[in-house]
Symmetry: D2
Subunit: 464 residues, 4 copies
């Protein structure tokens, strides 16, 4: 890899989970649009076929829209091959199959626990972590061996625990986790400003925030547009809309509408706590005590968001597979459009070709004063040459601390449980989760055992 | 006050809540038995009559059992009079009446929340704190004015929040909170050793413990008798008794039997977490998520402990009042016997007449590394001349931390809410309590409002 | 003040020390060049005449070079008048006169202590702090009363202690301290890269650094140009030049040559500690134990830097006064040129018209993990809408910590001594300074007393 | 080992440095006097002969004074043999010979650095640490292998760095360092009370102190006798004696008189800082900046203490060897008398046969809030069954912090340098020592190199 005249050439990116539909295509599109960087992307996936198809799609981009083919796509047979000498490693995997996810999301429903996502916190997030972290151990060790100086971007959930596991196994790793939930909140705040002040076309990056918390339960300590303090405006907005909800135009793809919400959870949290909760309502709801927003399907409906079923995910997958067929057959052309993700911009900054501040998930080294050092937290960070330095935000305010520390404590336990293969510790954490606390001990035990049993194919490293 | 030949004379003790039956009589008895100290006790109570009767009882002790009347008892008309120049201040008050307590304990039952005590954590503890802390502000200011160098011993619940409030108002105060729950656990462990090893008559002080946590949710990191590690023995014991319970001989006073338990909660916590929970099961249950041990009256019964109703407290009070009548009329003689409390021993050590280590509640100044500085925690402390120095215990273990930080976060919020008269912050804390988290937000709000309404006579300083 | 179409109008800047020659003219020039901002600058100075002349110069800028006169300059009779409703407060004062500075710098020479600057650390810096901090108390209180939401930029030395004093008096103040020493180091590193790699015209901002330490004893944990790690290159450079020095082209103004150095101290520190010391050699030398680089005038010469005498400062002042006369008389036109300072850029970012990361001095809220919280430290910070958020840099490395904590400890003591008017504590700090430690206690006392006596006109608030 | 009827039998003590004259004889005497403990002592020494003679002396005690021979003494050929299954490990070694010590103490004198002891801080302490710590690594590993649950008592200097090294190599070790300097201070304070208040025969243990700092630079935050605050009395005493010194009765052994002092350093530090420095003046002087009390031999004399030359140590050794010959030949009987050390009392408490609080050196786990976690510090600790728990003392006061952190920073660097065999880091630490800071860099380098060269026989593990 070298940089000349402000352009970096010969970059090697290893993509773990290279058969991915969403994230991989986003990256391909963003890479194609970025003229200052070029190189090779090595796709690795335990399921090789989709990686081969993705490479084919990626390599076809050179012909699209007259764009120069700056990037070549390869498929790696082994993790080592992908990682060897990589400058960047991108991880976006599906740990297990949708059938394991079905257990994560739906088994707890038998016990009255409804999860809107089921991949971050709650029983689903914890069990998912137990099967994902051992995979992350393999990756962390692979990175240490093959590309210890590479920067690693994680997109997989449970974000916090996956990123934490990388650092636990290889403490010198240069890894961070990325999530677009804060971006969506910025977009929402831009709409709020349009509605209340009539300012149009605010770019989401121009909503300046102090970000604090943990992934999917992130908060804004401050939010500004230029010199405008958004908090009092948002307060008025919430007072108007919190009870009725703010209805967006429905997504063109009807299957995506399940991800839309009326922002009622977000607004309720603001009115109660005075800080802007900065993630989708589906995620925020899961981070709160179970009875608040997820008491029952009716309660969920009342709060204006939806439960994402695994059947629904299958339907979405079906759509993606169809689209992929068309890309491959040439029936449809892969369309370049900004993904809204920042991975490519981050890589560019890390290469020293631009600097900026955005939010990431990294181990606490002082950025949040009242959370434990080392725990993975989400704050802003300054991106520049070979550096991602978290920005301080001080203490979490008392009530936000009280809600957040619950998760930090549980997540720290789950990661420790996973790397030490200690299911007793895992169960201690499981019982303490704000969703599971709705159960008595007998129920909690039964649920845990059932979820472990359901996913045991991916838990063979534990002493079950 | 002066010390000569190892005897301290001229000590002044201010007793706030001087009409108290239990704690005041305990102190009188212990003082009478301690030959190295003498002086005057000033009883102050907003309800003066019982203080007058207690003074009468106290002054009669000189004639009992041929004991020398080392102590004279007076009644103070004002707080200032009691505090002026005091060497020690003892606080044991009933904040409000049993009717406020009825609301604390029983109103939540309408919403399915059963509290075994209701004065520490949970909805009852929080509302009780809201009316008690303003009283503690008055005391802290009075101490600053009248006896800033006095040592202050708090016995009132909610222990943690009362003690915290004293320091919040008067940061230089020399105060600590005392509780006998760890002592009871030491006695239980002595019985365990007798049962398992046949060692008889172990004194509870000889069970050496590293104490950690918060009051009524205190844990032992280690426990030894001489060189014997109690943990493996206790483990065997728990494996034998956890499911069936360990039944003590019933208390002579049948009214006290409600305080007895089968130690099943304590043993269950040990088997699950590996550390000895060191408080009565009634208290431990309240500190855990609501569904674990307090799901319903049947659940409570199954776990072998009892709910203490306020009617029951009335019955106990009736017994005490009868006893007091007899003391006053001379029908019965006040009986000197060691109370099992350590207040007098602590005073003696603080005067430099002996040193020892015991557990107390004090602001964290390093004794527990992973709890916030300043929060009131329970650990051992070294008592000696004018010094009560907490003993370090390091980090709380992960699962104990996860369970404890919940309460620390809530308690810090409640104390802040009380001193700033901020009921919104109080409600934020209320919602976050592990018992209240069983409710949805509508229920939580309704419960909070009702409990505030029920006790509003004592909450006039808030903007209700 | 309002912002429209990306332009802020109606800004009010209060300039304390408004008669300043260097800093005020820099600001005037930079403001004139910044088209996105306009408003009024209120100059306040206890010596009013120079402020009047500066206003005259400032108001004449509108006619220069065809620039639009975006800014109007006024003179305030009182501090209150200047501060009332200000959006920004700039502080650059001379505390006392050059005669006090003569004592600061030259009195210690009698005892063999040579100071190259004498305004930051060492006996000079400490005595200067004692007379400056009471002035800063007045300012902090004035800001609280008149413009509590203003952002405050401090340029006065001792930077760390002045900024700390602002926060000690008014903890909610939004203040930071700015210094260009890191910028000079970036420029030097750009030259190093040119020399070693042949890359020309690197802008100093493009040298990306992780900044850590305290003002005038600041270090770089990392330094990059694009993807080039500067450390190994700098190592080679130092191995070549450390003994002989790197000689710059002499400054056009021969009076400025005393500020030039051969960078030998900086290079020596790098070779010994492995991190880039990032301040001028005159400052670095003062921060080290006295015998290292300031043992004697000969030693100073050997290390390739100069001692700045107060007579020299008088000569420089004379130059400035002449220049001012010419500006006023019209004999010479005030010349607009970028000052190299970032004050205006910072203001713009704070108004939400651009974001960037640069180094500042602010209280530690987690940015440096092993320095005390609250102490003022120098690190990068993210500037954006109404926000200056320090960027984390982790722990200072062991040797840098060892050298730095000395100053932090002394500075914390001096600030406390100044605000409590405690000269005993001040003397404790004085004795502990790395320069003063060369003296025995008798000498240290004599020196302290003499320096206090010399400057007592400005120390009337102390009990001397 | 077992305990019955309050007596522990079958204890195994490993004594590393078993040929020791002072410490080993102290232990033998104290063990003989303690009726509650009995067992076997294994003496190990790289110089076996003195260990054999010591075993002979130890085994002869049974016949003395009609005492029961509770302890049997053995000589171990290997470290492993001594350690295998030990309950306690006592370490008191001479690292190297008196010739290495001659270099430690006297080589710096060429550069004007006078050391009163030369084994703790300063150039002597640092070089001594470099050769001692590798020996401690061997011991720490040996303990891990052979007796991981043993309690380890270290008496060797440099105390702080030796103890730190044990924990660095084997973090789970149960080790603490013991030193009697605080005891001597307690004795001195008892004399002060006798002098000022006429109270006679105060036992040194009855002077109750809050101890804080690092070994040989320990301070008392508070000191009491019963309810008497010693600070104001000591202040009066110091005001009377600080300038003239307090002269003790000369030691019976004229060779010991060099260890006596007039307490002038201690009193000067009190008057300047307001806290009681609690170590011998010889040690305190070394911990302060070099010019304060050790500027020159004349300065030392003026401050009323002495420099301990290595020739003097040879003379003392000669006395001991003579005494040993007489013990062995039977010309003189080994005399039992309390040593004043607490090792045996500590062992007894650890066995659960008594509890007490005394001062020890242990890694900071919260006991001193403003020193780094993990650094070895000296505070009180609570001794009881299998537990030595440091007692919190809060923050070091600002000036004490400023003086102490210097040493902590240097000591942390030296230990790291020793375990990583990094002489560059060692030199960084060396330069930063308060004594060495009197030198310029050329001198410091020359001194370091010369001291390394002088002792290289014991530094073969470094890359010299």
């Amino acid at each position: 890899m070298k940089i000349e005249n402000g352009k970096a050439t010969g970059i090697k990116i290893a993509y773990i989970g290279g058969g991915s539909k969403g994230w991989a295509w986003n990256l391909m599109s963003d890479l194609a649009e970025e003229s200052a960087m070029s190189g090779e992307v090595y796709l690795y996936d335990i399921d090789k076929e989709p990686a081969i198809l993705n490479a084919q799609i990626g390599n076809s981009i050179g012909d699209i829209d007259g764009k120069l083919a700056n990037w070549k796509y390869f498929v790696s047979d082994t993790l080592e091959d992908a990682l060897k000498g990589a400058n960047f490693v991108v991880i976006s995997i599906l740990p297990g199959t949708f059938e394991e996810m079905r257990s994560d999301v739906h088994t707890p429903e038998k016990y009255g626990i409804y999860q809107s996502v089921g991949d971050t916190m709650g029983p689903g997030g914890i069990i998912r972590a137990l099967r994902t972290i051992p995979m992350y151990e393999v990756m962390a060790n692979g990175i240490r061996e093959n590309c210890p100086n590479a920067w690693v971007i994680n997109y997989t959930n449970p974000m916090t625990m996956c990123t934490r596991a990388l650092y636990k196994v290889f403490p010198e790793i240069k890894a961070f986790g990325c999530c677009h939930e804060v971006f969506s909140t910025q977009k929402f705040l831009a709409k709020v400003l349009e509605k209340k002040l009539g300012i149009k076309d605010i770019k989401r990056e121009d909503i300046r925030c102090e970000v604090m918390g943990v992934n999917h339960f992130t908060w804004l300590k401050k939010a500004y547009y230029q010199d405008i303090d958004i908090f009092p405006i948002y307060k008025e907005f919430c007072e108007e809309y919190a009870k009725v909800g703010f209805t967006e135009a429905p997504d063109d793809n009807w299957l995506n509408r399940v991800f839309q919400s009326k922002q009622m959870v977000k607004m309720d949290l603001f009115l109660r706590y005075g800080y802007i909760a900065a993630a989708g309502d589906r995620h925020l709801a899961e981070a709160c005590p179970g009875k608040w927003y997820l008491e029952s399907p009716e309660c969920v409906e009342k709060w204006g968001f939806g439960l994402t079923s695994v059947d629904h995910r299958y339907a979405l997958l079906e759509q993606s597979l169809e689209k992929r067929s068309k890309y491959i057959s040439g029936e449809e052309q892969f369309k370049l459009k900004p993904s809204g993700e920042e991975g490519v911009k981050q890589m560019k900054a890390i290469l020293g070709l631009g600097s900026f501040v955005t939010n990431v998930n990294m181990p606490n080294r002082g950025q949040i004063t009242n959370l434990p050092m080392g725990a993975v937290v989400e704050t802003n960070a300054s991106f520049t040459s070979n550096t991602v330095a978290p920005v301080t935000v001080g203490d979490l305010p008392p009530a936000v601390f009280a809600l957040t520390i619950d998760h930090v404590a549980v997540q720290e336990m789950v990661v420790e449980a996973a790397v030490t293969r200690d299911l007793d510790l895992a169960f201690q954490a499981f019982c303490k989760d704000p969703q599971v606390k709705r159960l008595n001990l007998t129920e909690a035990r039964a649920l845990f055992d059932e979820m472990i049993e359901n996913t045991k194919e991916y838990l063979t490293m534990y002493n079950i």
